[in-house]
């Protein structure tokens, strides 16, 4: 399946955005290998794969929402709230660890569903709706705790750090998610409808597509994947952190744009997003090897977004 996907991506090479990402990936890998002997090792790549998982999960969700023409600015807040929920409950009742994994995913899905529902019912721009949701979730979390809190059983860190034939479990799960979403978008009517709804909601509606249903699925999925990212961060740190999600919202958009999805919807291959995730993670890894400060990395991230969106043609000038 992985191989066909690569084939698919290669066949879409006439898409200039993917060429740019692949080119940048190659440049980063070559630069890294020249500058540091540890960068180009399989061991390091596996580490990057492990570290990329959180961003990967969040970006899948963002991508789905962007394809249907929306945007989800609550992803970071859902990530945060999920880590707190999971770590706090499990801290009190360690036996609930496994149910809470599902509970957390359900929680995220519900928040996403609410985002979608409010967007559909009120006609308010999703940007505003999800910004509002983010504020509410962050408020609730910060009332509960200002410090990292809670704990999870030791074994749960296997999700992030565990290795399966030296491949990180988290990375594998992320790749699996990408493949599943790709199959869904490519081989199922509902998945194709994502592109129809994002491409032209009016035409989709008149063609008999249930746009509201599609939109709800997209936002729910976004919430689900944000919660999955939350679970990943809990697994890494063993605590719930009220600030962990803050940077995720913006970072989740970067691979989506780099991957050639357009804001406004209706276009793009999910594997482009995966390439975007790899690019961002490898770049960050490389900058760390080069001892570039986190602060400068922020600047670089901002500039990448600006340059990426400036280069790609975007639909209209929506919010």
């Amino acid at each position: 399946m992985k191989l066909t996907s690569v084939n698919q991506s290669l066949r879409r090479l006439q898409d200039p955005s993917l060429i740019i990402v692949i080119l940048l990936l190659v440049i980063v890998v070559i630069t890294g290998s020249v500058l540091s002997d540890r960068f180009g090792t399989m061991r390091n790549f596996m580490n990057v794969l492990e570290q990329a998982a959180g961003l990967g999960f969040a970006s899948i969700g963002q991508a789905l929402v962007v394809i249907v023409g929306g945007i989800d600015l609550s992803i970071g807040a859902v990530v945060t709230a999920s880590t707190i929920l999971m770590a706090a409950v499990v801290d009190l009742h360690p036996a609930l660890m496994i149910p809470m994994i599902f509970g957390t995913l359900l929680f995220g899905t519900m928040i996403g569903f609410l985002n979608g529902y409010v967007t559909i019912r009120t006609g308010v721009h999703p940007l505003i709706v999800t910004l509002g949701t983010a504020s509410i979730l962050n408020g609730a979390v910060l009332i509960y705790t200002l410090q990292p809190t809670g704990s999870v059983p030791y074994w749960f860190e296997e999700f992030a750090y565990g290795r399966f034939w030296s491949v990180p479990v988290s990375g594998l799960v992320m790749l699996l998610c990408f493949v599943m979403v790709w199959v869904f978008l490519r081989y199922f009517e509902t998945g194709r409808a994502f592109y129809a709804v994002g491409g032209s909601p009016d035409a989709a509606h008149l063609s008999g597509i249930q746009c509201n249903k599609i939109t709800l699925i997209a936002y729910s999925a976004s919430g689900f994947f944000a919660a999955l990212a939350g679970a990943y961060f809990v697994s890494r740190t063993s605590v719930g952190d009220p600030r962990v999600g803050d940077p995720i919202t913006l970072s989740s958009i970067t691979p989506v744009i780099l991957g050639g999805l357009i804001l406004g919807g209706g276009k793009g291959n999910i594997f482009g997003v995966l390439l975007g995730v790899f690019l961002i993670s490898l770049l960050s890894n490389l900058l760390n090897y080069m001892n570039v400060s986190t602060f400068i990395q922020w600047v670089i991230q901002g500039l990448i977004i600006i340059v990426a969106v400036s280069i790609y043609v975007h639909k209209g000038r929506k919010l």
Partner: protein, 507 residues
């Protein structure tokens, strides 16, 4: 098959359908006829469930139905080909054709192989050979229209509605389409056909229902009608009463506007013409022939890739809209709401928008002066509006259009470009607007009139340029101006479409 009783649909400011009843039976081609704005589109959107009627009932296949979404009507067997293309550019031809009803594999996934094959078959039936794997965004408009039509041929359709399906396709394709429609009719499908090309109606329809200004006029067997009677019913008055008398063009002095080898890549190629003060010059052609692009290029709202233009004898190269306005050029755009009016503002702000410098003093905008200007225009064009502070969004289409005439006649001293100036306007206001256009020309403006309504071109213009695929294919003047001649130039000898796939990929 379908029966509508007493349908009324009101939009803010307009009663789009007023107690309209309509019936079409299985195995007939039923034409729905009316001018732009007569309510045809609203009626079919009501059938489709895209609009919910304020009053009235719909019976389909013998049962009373009240659907609230297009999906319900689609599931019931109604397929509608809208005037605007309902295609998704990032999906392939096959995916567009089979959207929502693709062949599945045993795993319930989309069976692409089967889908591509049956899509190709469907297109072959239409005599239009396309590779169904190509993305729709890479197709020409005519090809896209054929894809849209192909969508109607899959699945079980009991009622097929076609809204102006031939607007952008060639004569040969139209013929194939008509054959196909007749086949479907003979299979027992009920077909509603909307067009304002009367020849088409006579060649394909069995019965015709006429709408005028949102009201039902009548239903007739096509066999018992002639052309003049049909036109009379559509517009509600005799043709000679609609248009003001033509005047001979003034003695040809120097042209007020000249265009030489005007190009806008890729839509307009090598367009040259002269426009004289006091004349109404028509610019005719099919949708997508490049007429609006010529207008935008003259006005400076899209950039010219080549060519020279003079205005009032002086060079007029690469102007901005601001410069065009300052030099006395006015441009009343095609899309009243999208490009013309600022719907969130009131009448006076809309009238003065291009002339703001005139109303600016050192203390800011002179509101009193603005209000007075708006009042003058309201009076001059007899706009039905309570006052200058009234929001334009509450006005009917005709009154909105008059506001735009008020806007442009204030600043326009030399040339006024009118792009579809009567679209979606009731007949009464149309007549008023024709008089206004005539009067503006008499006052010495050069008027460039772009219109898809051939009677309008024929009735008003003293000279007509016809465009096709971005070039001027003919010029007619005086007594030669008639619909047949114009159509001949507008559709003249197109290249066969078999190469379209490769053309599509090249763009």
């Amino acid at each position: 098959m379908i029966r509508l009783e007493g349908i009324t649909k009101v939009f803010p400011g307009v009663k789009s359908l007023d107690n309209v009843s309509f019936e079409a039976v299985a195995g007939e081609v039923h034409a729905l006829l009316g001018e732009n704005g007569a309510g045809k589109s609203t009626l079919i959107k009501t059938m489709a469930g895209a609009y919910t009627a304020d009053e009235g009932t719909i019976y389909f296949d013998g049962n009373k139905r009240s659907w609230t979404t297009p999906k319900e009507s689609k599931d019931a067997g109604i397929h509608i080909i809208y005037q605007e293309l309902m295609l998704f550019p990032e999906l392939s031809v096959a995916e567009n054709i089979f959207l929502g009803q693709a062949p599945r594999t045993r795993l319930r996934t989309i069976d692409y192989k089967a889908m591509y094959e049956s899509a190709n078959e469907t297109l072959d039936k239409l005599g239009h050979h396309l590779d169904s794997r190509v993305l729709v965004k890479d197709l020409s408009v005519a090809d896209q229209q054929m894809v849209e039509i192909a969508k109607a041929l899959v699945g079980e359709t009991k009622l097929l509605v076609l809204d102006e399906p031939t607007a952008v396709i060639s004569g040969r394709e139209s013929e194939l389409l008509f054959e196909r429609i007749k086949l479907l009719r003979d299979e027992g499908v009920c077909i509603i056909y909307i067009s304002h090309r009367l020849e088409e109606i006579f060649s394909i329809a069995d019965r015709v229902t006429v709408l005028k200004d949102g009201q039902y006029v009548g239903t007739y067997d096509v066999a018992e009608l002639d052309r003049d009677r049909l036109v009379g019913m559509m517009v509600g008055r005799k043709v000679k009463d609609i248009f003001p008398p033509k005047k001979d063009p003034p003695a040809k002095a120097a042209p007020v506007l000249t265009a030489r080898n005007l190009c806008v890549s890729p839509k307009v190629n090598d367009v040259s013409f002269d426009l004289y003060a006091g004349e109404i010059l028509g610019l005719a052609g099919l949708v997508g022939a490049g007429r609006s692009e010529v207008a935008h290029a003259l006005f400076g709202s899209i950039s010219r890739s080549d060519g020279g233009v003079t205005l009032g004898g002086e060079g007029f190269d690469a102007p901005s809209p601001r410069e065009s306005i300052d030099r006395g050029l006015g441009f009343l755009t095609e899309d009243r709401k999208g490009e013309g009016l600022i719907m969130s503002l009131d009448v006076s702000a809309n009238v003065t928008a291009p002339a703001l410098p005139e109303f600016t003093t050192s203390l800011g905008l002179d509101r009193a002066h603005e209000t007075q200007a708006a009042k003058d225009e309201i009076k001059r064009f007899r706009v039905a509006v309570p006052g200058p502070e009234y929001g334009v969004n509450k006005l009917s289409g005709g009154n909105q259009q008059k506001i735009l005439f008020g806007r442009w006649t204030r600043t326009c001293r030399r040339v006024l470009i009118l792009d579809e100036p009567t679209r979606g306007i009731d007949v009464g206001t149309k007549v008023e607007i024709y008089e206004i256009i005539r009067k503006l020309a008499d006052e010495g403006l050069g008027v460039l009139l772009i219109s898809s309504e051939l009677p309008e071109i024929v009735g008003l213009c003293t000279r007509v340029l016809v465009m096709r695929d971005g070039i001027i294919t003919g010029e007619v003047s005086g007594a030669e101006i008639n619909e047949e001649t114009i159509m001949k130039f507008a559709t003249a000898a197109k290249e066969p479409m078999v190469q379209s796939v490769f053309l599509g990929e090249a763009t």
